[in-house]
Symmetry: C2
Subunit: 223 residues, 2 copies
DNA sequence: TCCTTGAAAGCGAACATTCGTTCTCAAAGT
DNA sequence: ACTTTGAGAACGAATGTTCGCTTTCAAGGA
């Protein structure tokens, strides 16, 4: 609960010949534990997973495991932290796109593809749910969201000032909307239900265009 | 695990004078337990809630509680069942709308409003997550989804045949997309983040229009 | 090259606690 | 008299975590 990072960079370089320095091995073991924990959390959820199960999955005794992570909670915190970093990267890549719609859509699709390829949908759902009640996890998520919101907000504001976005759009409403949709799509994992990424992208692009230019999109609506 | 319904209609009518028939009181108590359980599940999740906590919340001893529900699992099953019925009603109301877009949007907003007003977002997330791994809960959820999918599918197909929907649209892709977005919005609970229902509806309508008539929406896109 | 040494890593039994559930028996209702 | 309801102690299993012990192994001295 005190420290948010349990393992720093350890040592700068593996000086020469030794394939496994002490610090390298330590990082390797820690990663092994995290992988095992993630597998178990996907299978049974955070609260539904026992430390014994994680130990079995990692082929490690409880005593050994506790040398690397001080508590069960620290395990999810670490996993959340990894996801957080991944999210930040994905969102950062958005800024390289020439127009807003591509930026948003590509960013979302990257996110969905990453989630699908790594089988991360269940653990995303787990984290999202756990965030609603576990304070220390929510803190990590919020931290992430603050970053993302800022990046996203600045990006959209820039596009708005360049005239790419209808000035009627309120970023403060649009942003949570997009994030909510992105999260819903990530958890649902449509490609796992037989809907291809291409189709998702097509629909998502249409929806994004419509939401960024709501006046144009609405004047032909049947309402 | 065997029975899916633990309490049926009990007795047809309270014959006369008695304010509390035996059966009535039993239903009342069962409801009290369910309310307490829901409160606890929202607070701590299913796996994170102990039977003792539910007993305390319901001001009832374990012995008494177990007279009404045979297991912890039967409690979530019962709660899911209630949600299932509510969902079915919400989706059924869709058929009374004159055009597709209104049908879909109104249905979604009703769903969001119900979720928000009852503080159901956390338990929705809980159920969605738990469904990914708990067999008996997934069964209930799937049952619900089968109903919803069919109703929705028929509804959209009707609209498509009436020319309300661009024939290019593939219902098999559109349907999961809409459901995923709906679930994402329900869990995110935007009104709880300061985004009004009106704004959500505006954006959702724009997105819906765009996805139902993707050719019209795309030919002006900057792609 | 070999031995010594000390810290890090690992093991697995044991800890106190809490879990979901059952049992016993008394009170209340009919 | 008989059934339903309830309280609360009690159950064994399982929980997250700790502790004492052994093993491993790189570094330093000979």
């Amino acid at each position: 609960m005190d420290d948010t990072l349990f393992f720093e960079a350890t040592q700068a370089e593996p000086l020469d010949g030794h394939v496994h320095s002490r610090a390298e091995r330590r990082d390797l073991q820690a990663q092994r534990i995290l992988d095992a924990a993630k597998t178990c959390f996907v299978r049974s959820g955070f609260q539904g997973t026992s430390m014994q199960q994680i130990c079995s999955e990692a082929s490690m005794s409880p005593g050994a495991l506790y040398r690397y992570f001080p508590s069960k909670e620290s395990l999810i915190e670490a996993i959340c932290e990894v996801n957080r970093r991944q999210d930040a990267e994905t969102f950062a890549a958005m800024e390289n796109c020439s127009n807003v719609v591509d930026g948003v859509v590509n960013c979302a699709i990257d996110h969905l593809r990453f989630t699908h390829d790594n089988g991360n949908a269940p653990i995303f759902a787990e984290i999202a749910t756990e965030s609603l009640r576990n304070e220390s996890i929510r803190a990590i998520g919020d931290n992430c969201m603050v970053d993302v919101r800022h990046k996203f907000h600045d990006y959209l504001r820039g596009a708005l000032e360049r005239g790419e976005i209808d000035p009627v759009v309120e970023l403060e409403a649009l942003l949570p909307m997009i994030l909510a949709i992105g999260q819903g799509l990530a958890i649902a994992d449509l490609p796992n239900q037989g809907v291809s990424f291409d189709k998702v992208e097509t629909m998502l692009r249409a929806a994004t265009v419509a939401m960024l230019r709501p006046v144009d999109a609405r004047d032909t609506a049947g309402n």
